[in-house]
Symmetry: C2
C-alpha cells in the first residue's frame, strides 16, 4: 500500500521526515507519526523540541572531540581521569562502549571516523592534528589505538603509527583474540591464528 | 551494550524520545539521533518543527472524523463524492487504503477504533453518535461496514447493526473471500467456507 495522498500536509511533512531516517521506511514512518498523534500534546511538543535542540545544545569537546553540552566534556573535565593515557576511538559510540566496561581510567580522543578510500574519507577529514599535538606535548605517555578490527581501522592504525612514532610516547593497540562466549569451531582463522600467537599465561 | 551514561543531556533527551516510539529500541534510537547529528542544522530543525506541528496543525474533520488540516477534510469537501454512501472504517490508515484502490466514490466515517473488551475500548470511546445522526438524517441511503475481519471488527459490526438497523438505510459489509493471489491450499477453512457459500457467477 502506498500513501500517495495524505489527508493532511502536516501529517505528510512529519512522515517524510521520519522516512528520511536510516532504516525507517514510509509505512513505519506513518505508524510512528500516528502513534505520536495519539499521544499527549505536551509530550509530542517535547519530542519536537528535543530534536530541534540537538544542533543548538550539543557541541564538540575542544580537548577530545567527544560530544558534550559544554566546551569541555565530562570525561576531560574529570580530575580523577589519567590524562597521560589517551585512547583513540572512531566515534562517540565507541567512547560509550569503553566507558561501559568501567576498565579504562584514561581520557579519549575521538577521530570522527577512520581512513576509507572507498567512502572517500581522507586523513585530513579526521581530527588527527589534535592527536599529534597531544603526542608531541610531552604530557602523554601512552596512546592506545582502539579502532575497529577492519581494513579501514588497520589502515588508520598504520597511518597514526607513521605520524606519531617519532614522538616519545608508547603506542599500543587493543588485544585481539577469541571473543568471550565464542566457540572455537566458529571463530575465523585469522582471529584464531592471532589468538594462538598472542597466547597468555593461564590465570585462574 | 547499555547507554547508561550519555556524554550530553541533549543527546540523552532526544534518544529517550525516539526510544519511546513503538518498535524503536534504545540502540536504534541512538543510531537515529546520531544520524540527525550528522545532518544539516536547518534540516534537523525542520524535523523537530514537523513533530511539534502535529497537534497544532492537524484537526479532526467535523463530518467524518478523518484527520485534516482544515475543519472539513478534502474528501468531505469534494462535491464529486457521493454523500448518500458512507463507508465506516476503523482509522485513517483504512481511509487511505480504500482511497488507494480508487474504487470508492462515497464518503467515510472514521470510528477511531473497534470495540475491544480486552483493550478496554467501549462503544462510548468510538465516534458512533455521529454515525447514528447520519443514518437517521434521511440523506444517507447505504452504510458500508468496512472493519477488520477480526473478532473485534465483527463485534463492532454487530453493535452498529443493532444501533442502526431501525433507520431506513441499507447496511452492507465488505465481501469476504479468497484474497487475490492466495493459494487455496493455504487459505484458512473459515475463509474458504465463506467463499464457497458466497460464490458468484463466473465472469470473464
Amino acid at each position: 500500500m502506498s500513501y500517495a495522498e495524505f489527508p493532511s500536509k502536516a501529517l505528510e511533512n512529519a512522515v517524510n521526515h521520519f522516512a528520511s531516517l536510516p532504516g525507517i521506511g514510509r509505512k513505519t514512518a506513518f505508524r510512528l507519526v500516528m502513534s505520536l498523534l495519539r499521544r499527549d500534546r505536551q509530550e509530542v511538543a517535547g519530542f519536537g523540541e528535543s530534536i530541534a535542540a540537538l544542533h543548538n545544545d550539543i557541541v564538540r569537546c575542544t580537548v577530545c572531540n567527544n560530544i558534550s553540552d559544554t566546551g569541555i566534556c565530562s570525561i576531560c573535565a574529570d580530575d580523577r581521569r589519567d590524562r597521560t593515557l589517551v585512547c583513540v576511538v572512531e566515534n562517540i559510540q565507541d567512547v560509550m562502549a569503553i566507558e561501559n566496561t568501567r576498565q579504562f581510567r584514561g581520557v579519549y580522543h575521538v577521530l570522527g571516523g577512520v581512513i576509507s578510500p572507498v567512502e572517500g574519507i581522507k586523513p585530513s577529514d579526521l581530527y588527527i592534528a589534535g592527536l599529534e599535538e597531544k603526542a608531541s606535548s610531552g604530557t602523554v605517555t601512552e596512546i592506545i589505538f582502539a579502532l575497529s578490527a577492519t581494513m579501514e581501522g588497520d589502515t588508520t592504525n598504520f597511518y597514526l603509527y607513521k605520524k606519531l612514532g617519532k614522538y616519545n610516547v608508547a603506542l599500543t593497540t587493543l588485544a585481539r583474540g577469541v571473543a568471550v562466549g565464542d566457540e572455537l569451531e566458529y571463530t575465523d582463522e585469522i582471529t584464531l591464528g592471532r589468538a594462538i600467537n598472542n597466547r597468555n599465561p593461564y590465570r585462574q
